[in-house]
């Protein structure tokens, strides 16, 4: 056995003969008409901020108009009422915005990426949980003035109309929040967590009635009430249009597995084709949510990046058995129908903006980078740092070398468990500069496990790459 090389290297002498050439043939056969590129949205952060600020100003303005602010100067009782109202409004707004985001509005997604949407969704969820907490405490305080604390508890758990529903809503928000704390969420299978998370819709629905009937701002102000109802209707429409329609459309006209080929003992290359591809727009670097329409898998989706530049003939994905349903997906039979949602992601070739690229890939994270490399212009001199635990995990290596060569670039690999490496920090600034002298001038695209992303990001920033020039999908599942 050849001694393992423990720093970034070209590994030229070792594996040139062993990677199957079939991949090359496949790549050629798929080199049919490339799919059109989805247009990037021109929305800016400030546009989103302005829209949210406008909605928030209107609704919070209603509260202020009704004397919400001045109530704080009239003693603790009116203050508690006012605090109950404003915290309730804030909680509802955060909930509404959060739901609007997971409706995956195309404009927003095409500007910021689905991962960013989920990050914002998380912030909004946290804000909502805190606001609901304040709302409950302030509401109890307010009603305690009537007949004492116990009476207030009885009132708010059902003796007042619609308050039982509101209490259930608050409890569900609590459950959804707790199960989404990272340490607790890890204990659940993704789908278990996801279905629990869906009860948040139930929470929003059951708490709506008490807002309209009990909430002082909406019960007595017809205009405010209709604005509030309209806002909810809008978000429901977004959800139907952005989330349910695409899912059902995809299941109605699914793609099918055109071919499936084993790359290593635990990785397969799967190509999906079908007539609907003709009208699909997608670009290398994007990803889809795959829903295999098989008895035991139809109810779950799994995100996979395009492993090759998409063409009208087929979408190629690399599927690694990570011990869950991906094992089943890696073994789908030819002809199996697969519904796809997407494409998502903004880490497309245009992030280079005319500059040279440095790719960092870890393991199966090579898939989108292979697709991106296929789309690069000749002479673009890309450099790929390809990290893997085992030599045989370096899938597509031959093709990547060829691609890099044809564009004047290089592929550097580093193989072995982290503990075995001579260079303890292969993504440290020194190692990066030693491997790629002009790295600081490049635009970086990263893909791989979370630890690799953060290590590489830190190293790149240390060598002077702007954080705006480091592109990657934040892990959100």
């Amino acid at each position: 056995m050849a001694p393992t090389v423990t720093e970034w290297n070209e590994l030229e002498h070792e594996h040139s003969g062993r990677t199957p050439r079939r991949t090359t043939a496949k790549a050629k056969s798929l080199a049919a008409r490339p799919l059109d590129t989805p247009r990037r949205s021109r929305l800016l952060h400030s546009d989103i901020a302005a829209l949210l600020a406008a909605i928030a100003t209107c609704t919070i303005g209603v509260w202020a108009w009704h004397g919400g602010v001045s109530a704080f100067g009239r003693g603790w009782a009116p203050a508690a009422t006012s605090l109950t109202q404003i915290s309730g409004i804030v909680a509802s707004l955060a909930g509404l915005f959060g739901v609007a985001l997971v409706a995956r509005p195309k404009n927003v997604e095409r500007a910021f990426g689905l991962d960013q949407l989920f990050v914002w969704h998380r912030y909004l969820g946290e804000a909502m949980a805190i606001a609901v907490g304040v709302h409950v405490v302030a509401g109890l305080l307010e009603w305690t003035q009537g007949d004492g604390f116990w009476s207030a508890v009885q009132d708010s758990t059902g003796r007042q109309p619609y308050m039982a529903a509101a209490t259930i809503g608050a409890v569900l928000v609590g459950v959804v929040t707790v199960t989404s704390l990272r340490s607790i969420r890890r204990k659940f299978a993704y789908e278990t967590w996801y279905f629990l998370h869906l009860t948040a819709y139930f929470a929003l629905a059951v708490s709506f009635s008490h807002q309209i009937v009990t909430g002082g701002d909406f019960a007595r102000d017809t205009v405010a009430r209709w604005i509030w109802i309209g806002l909810h209707g809008l978000v429901i429409a977004m959800l139907l249009w952005g989330r349910f329609v695409p899912t059902f459309a995809a299941m109605w006209k699914p793609l099918h597995v055109r071919s499936i080929e084993r790359l290593t003992d635990d990785t397969a290359s799967i190509v999906l084709g079908g007539p609907t591809l003709q009208s699909l727009k997608a670009e290398a670097g994007q990803f889809f949510l795959l829903r295999p329409l098989r008895r035991d898998l139809w109810w779950q989706t799994h995100p996979f990046s395009l492993a090759a530049a998409p063409t009208a003939l087929g979408l190629e994905f690399s599927v690694k058995d990570r011990g869950d349903a991906s094992a089943a997906i890696a073994q789908l039979e030819r002809g199996t129908q697969v519904a796809i949602e997407g494409p998502y992601g903004i880490c497309t070739p245009d992030v280079a903006a005319g500059r040279k690229l440095i790719f960092v890939a870890g393991g199966i994270g090579i898939a989108p980078i292979r697709a991106l490399m296929q789309r690069l212009e000749p002479g673009s001199e890309p450099v790929l740092l390809y990290r893997a635990r085992r030599t045989k995990d370096l899938v597509h290596l031959e093709e990547l070398r060829r691609l890099a060569d044809s564009k004047g670039g290089t592929v550097l690999t580093l193989v072995g468990p982290s503990a075995s490496l001579a260079d303890r920090d292969p993504f440290g600034a020194d190692s990066l500069v030693a491997a790629v002298p002009d790295i600081a001038e490049r635009v970086a695209v990263l893909c791989g496990p979370e630890r690799l992303l953060f290590a590489a990001r830190k190293g790149l920033i240390d060598v002077g790459v702007s954080s705006l020039d480091i592109h990657y999908e934040r892990p959100w599942w």
Partner: protein, 181 residues
């Protein structure tokens, strides 16, 4: 590849969520017991007693009858049928029993000297077949009693206890008309 790996079933993954939703739904139907009078317990007394300054946050009261916690909105002009305060004729008289949807209501009232108005009233008999009726009326009747002192026989109905309110009003009106139980 580990061919023995079988994806977990939908039932197993969805079970916690379905259980949670089911428990929530069951709790909802168990907990929901609105309109038991408390809704007005905090609002109506303000018409007769001093305002405690609590803004009404109870949806069951229509905006026209109860204000927004604004003291000027909660004060109410007493009904014109209420006489000048003096001259109550000591003895309480029983009104006729009025059958309502939920059971009998009977009023006992202290009248003014001329017998044209009630100084105060109470309802010793109210529907009692159901726990819910007992619960509601134990809270609603004192409220109505308070209202009668201020508004007379044409007092505002207690939301959530409208049947009792109507029976009470009918019995009281009968007393004023000279009928006795």
């Amino acid at each position: 590849m580990r061919s023995s790996d079988r994806p977990a079933s939908l039932a197993r993954r969805a079970l916690p969520a379905v259980l949670l939703a089911g428990v929530s739904g069951a709790a909802l139907t168990q907990l929901d017991r609105p309109s038991s009078g408390i809704a007005l317990g905090r609002v109506k007394p303000k018409t007769s007693t001093t305002s405690n300054g609590t803004p009404s946050n109870t949806g069951t009261v229509s905006p026209s009858t109860v204000g927004n916690g604004d003291p000027t909105a909660t004060s109410r002009v007493p009904n014109s049928s209420v006489p000048a305060p003096p001259a109550c004729s000591g003895a309480a008289v029983l009104g006729p029993v009025v059958e309502t949807r939920w059971g009998p209501v009977q009023v006992k009232a202290v009248l003014t000297a001329n017998g044209k108005a009630a100084c105060s009233a109470d309802a010793p008999v109210t529907p009692s077949d159901r726990n819910r009726s007992l619960d509601i009326n134990s809270q609603a009747v004192p409220l109505i009693n308070d209202e009668v002192k201020v508004q007379g026989v044409n007092f505002d109905s207690i939301t959530g206890a409208t049947v009792t309110s109507d029976g009470y009003r009918e019995s009281l009106q009968a007393v004023l008309d000279g009928k006795r139980g």
